[in-house]
Structures are given as C-alpha cells and as structure tokens.
Symmetry: C2
Subunit: 695 residues, 2 copies
C-alpha cells in the first residue's frame, strides 16, 4: 500500500490546463508538495503546468508507481487496462459515475473489479477525493487548490479514513482553519472497488506518522478483518458509523452503494475490540485530538480533580465527570494544606476546587494562585487527571500554555481544558495549546467526554491468542444432521448440538410411550416438564405444547397421551426436569453479513424485549471479552444478587458465551441459535429451551 | 420588580475612583448606557467619574429607586437600613462574604433577610454580578468595563437568569464575542436572600423585550411557584440545573448555599410544565437561540427535509433526525418533479436530498440548484422544516443569508443550518444569519437537537384550570387517624384512605376469627389472599405474612390460625380477593422539599428498580399531564398490549394519578404513599397493596 502514499512517479490521467476542472486541481495539488516525477496524461496537450504531457500512461518513458484518474466513468476501464499494461502499482480513480450512479455505473464498476482481480493492480476509489498527507504534503486529490493555499497544514499524528469524498475535503478545511488538531493523512475511500478501509487501516497500523486513527464509514467492506485489525492495534481508533438509525441506513443505501449493518451488532463488535464509537463529526475529531495529545498516567484509574474559576462551572463539570463514569478525586492532605494556605479562612477545600475566592483574597499579594493550585493537584497521588477551567478573557485567570505544558509533562498526567471567553482570545489560546499538546474545548460536556475517553484508553482489548483451537468434533449423527437438515431444528436436537458444543443443558429425554415417560420422569425426579415437539413448530408455548409442574406418575401418563393426541401423531414428546432457576437469561447467535457469527446476551423474560437490553459481540470471543459483554447489559444488577438471590456465576456464563461463538464459527450451516431461557440455578447454568436454525 | 431594571435614580454604595476596584467598574458601567440620575456614595470622596459623591444614601437630596452595594459584607446591613430609611425600592448587593462564606456570613445574610421582611425593601443578591440589559444598555454590574467596551452588545429577546456571578459575566462575553444570539437581560441572582429566580421569571413573563427565557440554577427557591410560572408562560423556557449527579449536588451545596433537589423529580416536574431541560452551558444557549429565532409552522408535525451537499452528511443528519423523534418527510410529487429536472438522470430523488450530483450536472448551466431545491422543499406541504447543510467555503454552495431569510419567512417554516467550512467564512455567515433570524450550528448533532426543540415547542402545557377544586372530604374516623397517627399505616388503613380519596382498591375485609374469615372468603369468591398485618410491619412478604392462592374453606381456617399464631396476637388478618391482573404498576407519592407533593409512576415487579424506570410529576396534575406522564416510562410498550395482553386503559390510570396527587395536596400529614402493585385486570385497575406513611 505504500506506493499510494509515497509513490515513485505519478501520472495524472485527465490532466488539463483549465483551472476550473478537477484534472487541473489534481496536478496543482501534487505540485504543492510532491518531490518525485509528475506526468500529466492527456492526448490534447503537450505541456500542462510546465510539465511534459503524454497521450497515454503507456507512452510515459519512465516507470510510474501511481496513476490518478479523473476522466468520465466510461473511459476509466481502458485507462486502468493501460496502467496495468505499463506496470503501474496503484490507481486512484477520483471520477464519479460508478455504482453510486445507477445500473450503467454498476456495470462499469464491475469491469474495474474484474481488471483488478485479473491484473493484480490495486484500485482506490472510484467516486472519491483521493488522499492528503499533511506531513509530507502529498495532496493526491482534486479538492480546490485555493482552499489549500489559504490554510496552513498542521502536521500531526491523527490519520482519517472518510467514506464520503465531499466530507473528507470539508473536514480537512474545517480542521485546518480551526486549528482543531494536527493531521497526518486523510483518505477518501469512495466506492471501495478494491482498496477498502481495512487496507488503509492496516497501513495506518504500521505507519510511524500515525498515532490515532479516525474512520467515518457508511459500510464495512469486511467486518471480520476490520475487527481483527482493531484488536491488533496499539493505536486508539475512533469510528463514526453513518446510518445508525433505520432512516439513516436507508439513506446510506443510496450513497456510495453501501450496505449498512445492524447498529446494535456494530456497536457491540466495536466495543469488543476496544474501538471508540463516535456519533457526530466534530465529536469524532475531538476524540481523535484528545487521544492524540494526551495519554493516561500508568497505574491510575479515573480520579479527576476539577479546578475552576466559578463554583457553577465546578458543579456542572462534576455532573459530567460522574456521567462519564469517572470519579471525583479525594484530595490528599498535602494538597489540602497547600490550597488552604491560598484560600480564605472560611472556604472549605473540596474538589471541585473553586479558585475564585482565593484569587480575590490574593489579588493584592503577588501570588500565582492558579499555577500553585494546579501544581498541587498534579502532584497529588490521589489525582489521575485534571479538568481545568480557563476563563481566557480575565487577565488573572490566564495561563501560559507553554508553562502549563511543562507542568503537565513533568507530572505525566492528562489535563483537559474547558475554555470560555472572548472568541479571539479563545482561538489564540487553543492554537498555542495545540502546539504544546494540550486539548482545549469550548463545550464543557465535550471536555468531560474526551477526558473520559483518554482515561478509558488504557482498556485495550486483550490480544486474541494465535494458537488455532481445534473445534470440538461433533458426533457422527449430529454431523450428518448439520449437513442434511435445513430450517429450525426441534428443541431436543438443538440442545443435543449445544451439548456437543460444550453448552450445559437441562437433563431430558425423548419418550416413545407412556411407560417410557413414567420411567424417565422417575429417573429425572419430579416435578417434570413435558413438551410436544412437532416439525417446524418453534412456538411450542403458543401451540399449547408445553406442560409445567407435572408431579406424579398419573399426570405423566395423561400428559403424554394428551400431547400425542394434540400433535395428531406428527411429533415427539420430550420430558425434562423442571429446573429450579433463580435467574433467566437469553443467549443467542446470529450470522451477520458484515461481521459473521455474533453472540447475543441479555436478561430473560420480558426485559430484553421491553428495554432493548441485549448486547452483541463477534465470535470468536476471548473469555475476557465474554465477561465484559455480560457486564454491558443495563440490567446487570440482576446478576449481582438482586432482591435476595445469590449472585450469578459470571465466569460460567462467560464460558458458555465463548462456546456459543465457537459453535457458530465451526458450523457455518448454523444461521441462528436461540437459547431462551438459559436458567441459572443452584446447580449452575443450563439451557432450558433452545432452537437452532440451519441456513 | 421594574425598578430594578428601569430605576428612577441609582446610587452606588462603595463607589471609588480606583479603576482596579469593582466599585469603580459599577459606576463606569452604569454610565455606559443609563440615562437617569446617578449618585456615587462614599464618605471619602466628593466627586467620582465627574459625578457628585454623597457620604450616605440618606444624604442624597433626590429620590432614589435603586441602590447598588459593593462594600465589605459586615458593612452591608447598615447600608441597607440606610436605604430603607431613604425609601429606596430595591437594593442589588454585589458584595460577597455571606451565606457562601461560612457561619459569620450566614449570620449577616440572616440580618438582611430580617431587614427585607421588616421594611419591605427588595434585596437582590448578595454575592452576585447584578444585571445587564443589552436592549437599554443598563449595566448594573461590577464586571470589567474593558471587556464590555471591546464587544458590541447584540440586543435580542433572550433573557437569562444565572445563579453564578462569574458565569453570568463569562456567558455574556462569550455570547457577545461569538455572536451567539441577541440578548435582552442577563441577571445574576447570587444567594437569593430575597429576590429569587421566580421573581425574575415572573418579571420576564410580562417583559415585552423578552421572548425566550434561559435559567442556570443550582437550587429552586420555591419549586411550586416556579412550576406555576412556567405553566403560565407563553414564552419558551430552558433550564440548566447544576448538580444533576450526586457528586454535582454535593458540589452545589458548598456553592451559593444551595439545596439541590432530587434530579429525577426535577426532570419530571420541568417536563410536566413544558420546560426544556438543558445539560450543558453552550447547549442551553443554542436552545435559547433556536427558540428565539424560529417558530414551528402552525398545524405541522415533525416532518423534516434534509438538504445536503454530501451524501455522508445526509446520512448522519438522518440519524439525528430519527434520534430526536422527528421524521424524514416523504416528498410530494411536485417537489420530486422539480428536483428530478435538476438531478442527473440516474439519481433517485429521496430525502435526504444530496445536491452535489445536481450541482455537478448544472455547473456549466447558470442554474442556482441550491436555491431552487430549497424553494421546492419549503413549499412542499409534506415538509414542516428544512435541515440545511451549508459548505460555506465552496462558492457554489454559498447561500445569501438575506435571500435565505426572505424564503424562510415567505414559507413560514423553520430552517436550521448546519455549516462547515473555513473558520472566518463560517463566522461571517453565522453573524449575518443571526441578523436575519436564521439559527446556524457547526455541530450536526446540535443542529438536529435544536430543530427538534423548535418543532416540539408547539407542545405547551395545558393551563391549570383556575377553579378551586374542593378536596374530597374524608370520613370522620379517617380524619381522626390522619391527625393522630404517625409513621406507616397498615395496608388496610392505607387502602381505606386511598379509597376515600377516589382510588380503586381490591375488595378485602379485616376478619376477627376463623368463621368470619370463611364467610368473608365465600363472599369475596375464591381464590383469596390472606395477609397478617402487624403494627409497623410494612415488609409483610419478607416476614412471611402473605399467603396466596387459598382456594377452599379449610385452607382459609388453617391460614387464619397460622397467621394469628405467627403474629403472636399483635396483629390483624386481612383477607382479599386474588385479583386476576394482567399488568402490574407502581404508583407513589412523595413530598419533595422543593416541589411539594409529587406523584411517581412506573412499571411493576422488578422493572422500575432494575432499569430506574420511574417518572415523576408535581401535584396537582391535570388529566392531560397524567396521560403524558404515563407515556414517559421507557417500558410503555407494556401498556400497549404486550405479548398478547390487551392494552391498559391509560385514561383510568391517569385519573388515579390525578387523584393520588390530590390526596397529597389536601393531606399535608401524608409524607409518602406507595401503591405496589396497582393491578390492572379485566375489571379495571385496583390497588392490591399500599402503604401510607404519615410524617
């Protein structure tokens, strides 16, 4: 992939001297920073922008690594063939008119796919803005050169992938003109005919100029590879997935020919591999910026000291600290002593630290209350991070960003600044702070959110062990079943499969006649449950085929006869021990088109449905991920010994979730698994009812 | 209150020629705009800032409406006495050192309360920044005059109350320098010794210069009056309550000596009276601005058309439209026709409308695609509002704010602009748009949130009927009980009280002996429930005193004897019909220190506790408010016929909630009521168990 970013020789097909056209902009932009050889290609001209122009890529006498194409869509396939013939390694197709533009465009795009597959040439785009590298000033894009001339690049270590050509350009201009953050690379991936977000993400993971990765995506080209890359990443990753809502997903379908996934699965899978999910463009930038500038101190937790110039700001900052799951630090005695000397006598030293009364008190003395207090908080072992309020337009509350930076770096603890004041003063401070690596925010809520992101960044996912686990071998009859059957399996077969896959199920037996039923009931122990299983009948309860609380021989016999009669000879009778459960859970597996087999977990009964309280993770899950997944349901109280019941053994449930994921991975014909409920009782957890659907 | 805002003559006690002191700033600030007589007061000087200075307020020869005080706290009571003697109507005390500053300050503040009560003089503050009126340029505050000189006031119709002196000043500077919005008045209320947020809110309701009211509060001085005022308001009100979290509330207690209320009750009460709750300072300003600039069209609902310059922006805008409960408009045929003529042939016309392909297509023709599309959307009867994306730094996507405003006003529909581009271009557009009454946002999520607020503003609370309802008279024995008893009443007495208050309860009887029990059971009909009631024993189930499913005479007799034995002669036995319920609910009443009797509603069983799914409203509730309250639980699906049960009669539950509130209002000795559960069955709803706690 490096030839896209650092090519030896670039040709521009569709180059033109007309300054109103993209083909001219591309050339001018390349000239702004690229130091290698540049070859305009256009049969109509001999020279463009002072460079020799060639009629075709094939006619360029020297080797060319990269070709940027900006000609009408119908002409593109021939150009790409020409490139392949010439031995070009990568082509960025910036023209539109492909899959996003109706059936004819789809056909053209298919042609491109075929050429890439046949020749091995890598194709980037089409329908994209190309890429910009702010560190090396490589601008391989048709964005307006005038926009670029007006702004200064701020080189930095945040690299972005943007699945929207327009937005990638807009973002860059917005980031540059607002001095939001330092950027390494911005890549517009367009229709992803060949190069997709995974290829670029993989490149970024090894790119020394990239420290933080942000992606705006409307679809995942290869969900499983994406997750694997994220899991391996030592760099923070932030993803904004457009099309979260049903309506948004519909909009996404008509844009860049995307396939939007189930948002709940996406959210679960991203959380599983340690990716931070953003919702809003600016928020995504703010998160990237914070993670790029600031790191949590090793060994700390989330204890925050708030230093403000207004009690009100302290109160609201405290609200947000709590909302984001951080805690207000309990200041050490030494810090309190330092602050007490600065404060008026009547003022108790608490966190949030409201500095104004101290400033009032010390206004005549030449004491830098602000810096002294900050110093005390930063050196407090009880404090992991400082939320700092700067009122820039008050001379007494002005901090020098470079001194501030020196203090922060000495302390090795993150600081987030919430700034307020005159617009120009704010901007000047913010720009200077950026140079010194201090994240500054004008929204108090955003500041708190980003501080939480920084402090949470220590929680990287555990690496997936590389040793290939052999999937459990299924007994021959089950293997045969898995090959030959389709649609829903009955409860008994489903549970046999689960048991073979390592998931505990409650004791049960299929019984052939009343005597068999009686013997089975006696062996299982009363009370028992009896169920009628008919082919395809997954809704047993609704069909009246589930009978509970059967407590004696006579009832077993009558129930057997009743069920058989009701099924009109088409079904089987299942008898099982009535499991004395304390907590019921729902577990599931489904095969997502983007992420493959995904495991679902939720509380049982009506809860999951009433409160949409289910969580997902992609298989395979590590044991640790399964434990975290369990902790993500909102009703987790129910697991911790709710209303007098003893707590659920989370380790046991985690092992079952891991096993469920392995079944999904090793058995590709399984489309769906429903374990509803998994009953957790004194003897442990067991699937009480289950359905497996083969696809 | 008008003498605070438009006084005839102002004296400044603590005036000084020293430009570093607040007493000088106050004088300078008054001189910036106030056109009446100004009297500096300080025994040390004869003239300050060119004005005759007086040794005391009493020595001013002319009448004085308003006095602003900025002298050390211990001197303030004597000054206020002097003012009262002179016949001054209002005093703004801007000095600190009162209740926020320890016991000595509290004593001083108490002295001020006493003087106000004795003399009738109105006191504003202490520990506040006073007030600023941007329309009349009345600046009665010690804020830095230089800060004011550097910025232009933007007069407008948003008025603010800020319970934090520092923040009120900072906000004003922030708003002015960012051209956030036009402001009428900013009032800093400080410690609220006399004048509180209610007084100012009431004044704002009648103030012709005020159109929208925003309040940052750390406490409610008189919650019930506040709610009444909000309910009567024809103007939108936005409240940011600091101290939402437990930690934040603790911080609030040490600031401005506030009492923070239960956040869940506050949220419920504010929603009940149509107040919009903000969480963040900038968000509060953004909401105020949007509500000030824009109004929903009469008769519309929440159908939004999104017009963007990027498919990605359209997708994310659509996500937020859905998230805020708005709907994407289905465009009419006429609109589609208009757009189809502008669009490339292959492009389907859908909402969100991605304009870029049309702009590309029409780039050579002289067609203003942007304006034509906007026009079509605004005139579409299927569209209630337009979410407009402006990419300001692209010349082809530039809109003229004044033309845009003309279109909007002609259509009478709100538009919200999400802008992105170069910082300076964005600011220039935003400032011009403000003049033309168009709200512009740089955050896409904020833009959507504010559009939702504007479209939701049609939902004003219904006015409370003025006719005084006579509370139901309680039968004499119950009246006696309410006077004499204290602590928890037993279930039977509690339900008798509820029944007398108009709340249905299940049929039941206290039985004295086994024969009585048998007769009662026969009359009620089997199965019955029997409970042992012992004084103070509210946890009957935990004590093993609840027996269900009693289905025959013998069981009634045995159970009676068992219960009596278990209670060791201390209790009574209650027998009741086992109510065949379909849905269980929890209702409650509690007396909040700020809002008085408040009604609680939630789903029954474990749901309310597991998911914190309870909602509150202050009594009295109108019937309509009770209906809305019911609709605010997250598990409302359970009410609409969940899993085959018929829907719950919401009207019936609403009437019960109204009655519950009336009981709380008319019976001040009732501290708490728990109805758990209220069973909703085929015959209607009835309280199955209840406890009333007298205080």
């Amino acid at each position: 992939m490096d030839f896209f970013f650092n090519p030896q020789g670039i040709a521009v097909v569709g180059a033109t001297p007309n300054p109103l056209k993209g083909g001219n902009a591309i050339l001018k932009n390349i000239l702004l920073g690229y130091r290698g050889r540049i070859y305009p290609v256009n049969p109509k001209y001999h020279r463009i922008e002072g460079l020799t122009c060639y009629p075709s890529v094939g006619s360029i006498p020297e080797p060319v690594d990269l070709v940027i194409v900006f000609v009408p869509a119908p002409l593109v396939p021939a150009v790409v063939e020409d490139c392949a013939g010439k031995g070009v390694r990568g082509v960025i197709i910036e023209s539109g008119g492909f899959a996003e533009a109706g059936p004819e465009g789809e056909r053209l795009q298919k042609t491109l796919t075929d050429i890439a597959e046949r020749t091995g040439i890598r194709l980037w785009g089409p329908n994209c803005m190309g890429l910009v590298d702010c560190v090396h000033r490589h601008i391989f894009s048709f964005m307006d050169p005038r926009a670029l001339e007006r702004e200064e690049f701020i080189p930095g270590n945040v690299s972005l992938v943007v699945q929207s050509g327009m937005l990638s350009a807009i973002f860059l201009i917005d980031i540059m003109s607002n001095a939001t953050m330092g950027v390494s690379k911005v890549c517009s991936v367009g229709n992803k005919v060949d190069v997709n977000e995974c290829d670029i993400l993989e490149y970024f993971l090894g790119d020394p100029d990239t420290g933080v990765i942000g992606l705006y995506l409307e679809s995942f080209s290869d969900g499983r590879r994406f997750l694997d890359l994220c899991r391996r990443s030592g760099k923070p990753i932030v993803v904004l997935k457009g099309g979260r809502s049903r309506a948004g997903a519909e909009a996404a379908l008509s844009h860049t020919a995307s396939l939007a996934g189930n948002q709940r699965i996406i959210t679960g899978a991203l959380a599983q591999v340690g990716v931070r999910e953003a919702r809003d463009f600016k928020q995504m930038m703010d998160l990237c910026r914070s993670l790029s500038l600031t790191k949590p101190a090793p060994g700390g937790s989330g204890r925050v000291a708030v230093l403000t110039l207004s009690g009100g700001a302290g109160i609201v900052a405290t609200d947000f600290v709590a909302e984001h799951g951080l805690t207000m630090a309990a200041l050490s005695a030494a810090t309190k002593n330092t602050l007490e000397r600065l404060f008026p006598r009547w003022m108790p030293v608490t966190n949030p630290v409201d500095l104004w009364p101290a400033m009032e008190k010390q206004s005549s003395a030449d004491v830098d209350v602000y810096s002294l207090s900050l110093e005390a908080l930063l050196s407090d072992p009880e404090v992991d991070a400082v939320f700092l309020h700067v009122f820039i337009s008050n001379p007494r509350s002005r901090l020098n960003p470079s001194e501030l930076a020196a203090r922060i770096h000495a302390a090795g603890k993150p600081i987030i600044v919430w700034i307020i004041g005159r617009r120009d003063d704010v901007y000047a401070f913010q720009k200077e702070a950026l140079v010194h690596g201090i994240p500054v925010f004008t929204d108090i809520s955003r500041a708190a959110e980003c501080l939480a992101a920084v402090l949470g960044e220590r929680c990287r996912p555990e690496p997936m062990s590389d040793e290939k686990k052999e999937p459990r071998t299924m007994p021959a009859p089950l293997q045969k079943l898995l090959h030959s059957a389709s649609g829903p399996l009955d409860e008994h077969l489903s549970k046999e499969l689960l048991r073979a896959g390592g998931i505990p199920t409650i004791p049960e037996e299929i019984v052939a006649d009343p005597a068999h039923a009686e013997a089975a009931a006696a062996a299982l122990g009363y009370p028992v449950v009896m169920k009628g299983l008919i082919p395809g009948g997954i809704h047993k309860t609704e069909l009246g085929l589930v009978r509970l609380e059967i407590s004696d021989r006579r009832a077993v016999r009558t129930t057997f006869e009743n069920l058989m009669e009701q099924m009109e000879g088409r079904g089987k009778v299942l008898i099982q021990k009535q499991h004395p459960g304390r907590v019921e859970l729902i577990l599931g597996l489904l095969r997502d088109p983007q992420f493959g087999p995904c495991v679902m977990f939720g509380p049982g009964g009506v809860l999951a449905e009433l409160y949409d309280d289910t969580v997902f993770a992609a298989a395979p899950l590590t044991y640790g991920e399964a434990l975290k997944l369990i902790g993500r349901i909102r009703s987790r109280k129910v697991l911790d010994g709710f209303r007098g019941t003893p707590p659920v053994n989370r380790e046991e449930i985690a092992r079952i979730l891991v096993a469920l994921g392995e079944i999904g991975l090793s058995q590709p014909r399984i489309r769906e698994i429903d374990i509803n409920p998994l009953i957790v009782g004194e003897q442990g957890a067991a699937a009480a009812d289950a359905t497996i659907i083969l696809g």
